[in-house]
Symmetry: D2
Subunit: 266 residues, 4 copies
């Protein structure tokens, strides 16, 4: 315990910030050593996303999976909290596109769009547990489910309020992720979690958060990537939803029905 | 002048919100009529971005340009206001990835990342003026520059505080945009604006905002797309910068040097 | 037109930021020269708000008006876009109180909570016009209304979707603002705008934005204060609404009814 | 574990939202049963803040403490992450006051402005521990410090990067909080935590977050209030800092010094 550490201590100047991502000079910009003009000519945006986060360009299968994940979460309609928040802000504040998009992103948390991050932690912990105890993935997954039931917590990556039986995106993503006939350890762990939860709790679909978490884990991403990648994909949808709000709707159109159940006027 | 319009007026319920972008049902999701699982299998994220905003998939040249634009603006280092704001928020608030990314987006305005939108308006107005007055693109561009000089306004799309002579991304983007030997009217207009400004003001580079505005205009996007597309690209960089901040830096590391020049203590 | 001006030009260091508001040293903090510990002992928060924005403490009447304005806009229920956005974000992201409050503030714009700023500009321009043309406040106000009708713009500060006949806060604020029997020029101008609009358009109430704008103008605040003061007051309500959302509601509770009216599945 | 709960399930309509805070009708608004026009006439903004969060008006001592706390955290200069983030956003986006203020709030987290919330939890747990184990406040506080040292965690509410020996606001707040000669259990617990930490770790000042947490605890507020009240106070300072940024500084003025230490260009 100590007062917040500061790299420099001179109130009259600021230490340089450091970065290993982008180098920018008068005549060139590099991302992890790649000239950005070469990237513009030769790679896709999904490649750039992968490069920014991993420090190297992806191979073809990796790129395909990033593309599929970003597309899978791009938009789910105006009713998702992120889109609804973006549209509400656009409704009261037509002056700032940035404000509306930012509000949409702020709605992303553990309950919405953030399950991927928690799944990735559950997968990492579960596979470490399997190795440590020398048990099968299935046993470790069942233990992870049991543990959450006892703690009164949700199992992340399962259930969806619209796709109540099957989330159609899940198996498509898993089929794209298959390397020959092999499925990665992350995918196998999430399948086992799903099976255990259906048996111990009740039939529930795996959702796209659970699926993308498994695939990102197998691609070697850290847990936070579950949220970062969701946000990158969702921003595409948020921009389109806000554009539609501006084009089709009047300001202040939203009328929330409210019931007051507090103290009576005195 | 009237009180804010509301579609419905019953305080006990809310009208349905409408959208023409996404349809979501228990077993399927469509984006502008395309099943999202088909999109996951067959298209890239740049295709999805184009589809969300234009209602159809792009052809190969269109996709290539969206990819190049998104990559060109993805990251310019931690010193850009968007990245600096995201890192500062990450520095005081480690609990919320969303908060840091949202703060980065909030820094996007007319002065940073928003010049594309103003350029697109200038291009549209300038080309309408050329047609209306039956003058050349060069004459209309010179008039647009003159007009801004008289009004004491900046010409959008020119100048860059790092790339003071040439922004290396501009000609690469224009070369990708060339359709055979043809350049679009938007590109030709921005080239003419650039030439006129160099003559009337002083030598200045066209910047990436000016270039992407010209290309998006020629692709048929509305002016606001200048900001929407910038934001989609930049979010990729913001996520990587925030990930690096978490990984490499301590909370509260930033020490801004401050000089007080107000009233003396009384 | 020139590349963005920067005070310093050395990429290896940052110039000091300057401020005339707060001086902070190891053993003391001053706001505009007032020791913050003295302020804590002796003044109210409304005094501090006034001091921060005006560089001096208010007199009793000024403080009373700041208190009344802040209270008048503190909360208008969960249906206002600011509160609804804050609650929606709280609904998807329980991890960050800051994210929910920030989203609420982002909904504040010209259409919601921002009319005060536009009113203050209208008042300043109108009173300058009256003086310049040597006409009465009533004539200048009628001209301002006429001008907006011709331009197809709303007259700011009038109309309210809940308080359709009378906004009960308006006359209370004006009565508190009266100095003896005198009303300030800002209040008289807004009363004249109101009268002219009722005659030329249709009977409409003045709303609290119009009233606080008139009073803040008469107190000598600049136009932007219309938005700043609204935000300070509203944040109090946003914090209470978010606290209630956490206490009473489940995450992801909001179900927006959506109707799709776009392209059919292909 | 179940799919997200939704109160209603009809996709064609939305359930009413409920609130016990504000009732709004055509001719009147009440906050917890108090007519807002009466509040405007009779109470201060600190009263309204208390009323919104507690459902009743404060007595004189309670009001005085809310005023003092809000003033104590209102502004600490442009170098605090919240103010720096607000100014950076104002620097790139001059179009939206809301965006700048929101960015400032987003920087508030456990590391900045959020220690109050963690302190309040520590106090509540510690006092429960004292009662449960029938030990003195001093013993429970020493145990809380010990526990954090063992867990490698910071003790919240201690240390400040500017006020390294004494935070001058702390004793002033505690003196205002004293009821006769009595100090509340929260204040006594934080004093004991401070003493234990100075002995076990090293001399460190209690900071304002620790002090306001103790006082809010003794006033009966829940832990989250530590963050809510900080935000309400700080927004006053953020608005003044942003107003100064607009008035005195050019857009894009900030030049962050950056050092690249990543992969070499290839």
């Amino acid at each position: 315990m100590s007062p917040p550490a500061v790299r420099g201590d001179n109130p009259d100047s600021m230490d340089q910030w450091r970065t290993a991502i982008v180098r920018s000079e008068a005549s060139a910009i590099w991302i992890h050593g790649h000239d950005v003009t070469e990237l513009m000519r030769q790679v896709s945006f999904a490649d750039t996303v992968f490069l920014l986060h991993r420090g190297r360009l992806p191979d073809e299968r990796e790129r395909k999976l990033i593309d599929a994940i970003l597309t899978s979460v791009a938009d789910h309609g105006p009713g998702a909290p992120s889109c609804a928040a973006a549209r509400l802000v656009a409704s009261g504040n037509r002056q700032s596109i940035s404000a509306a998009i930012a509000a949409g992103i702020l709605a992303v948390g553990d309950e919405h769009g953030g399950a991927g991050e928690r799944c990735m932690t559950m997968i990492a912990d579960g596979l470490a547990d399997a190795q440590h105890r020398s048990v099968s993935i299935e046993e470790a997954a069942a233990a992870a489910v049991e543990h959450r039931i006892e703690a009164g917590e949700r199992v992340p990556g399962l259930g969806h309020r619209v796709h109540r039986t099957v989330d159609p995106r899940v198996e498509v993503l898993f089929s794209l992720a298959r390397d020959g006939n092999e499925e990665g350890a992350g995918v196998r762990f999430m399948r086992a979690v799903h099976a255990a939860a259906c048996e111990r709790i009740r039939p529930l679909p795996m959702n796209i958060d659970g699926a993308l978490a498994a695939v990102l884990f197998d691609l070697g991403f850290p847990a936070e990537a579950g949220k970062f990648i969701f946000i990158i994909g969702r921003v595409a949808g948020l921009t389109a939803e806000v554009a539609e709000e501006y084009a089709r709707e009047k300001p202040m159109r939203v009328q929330i029905p409210v019931q007051y159940d507090g103290q009576e006027p005195r």
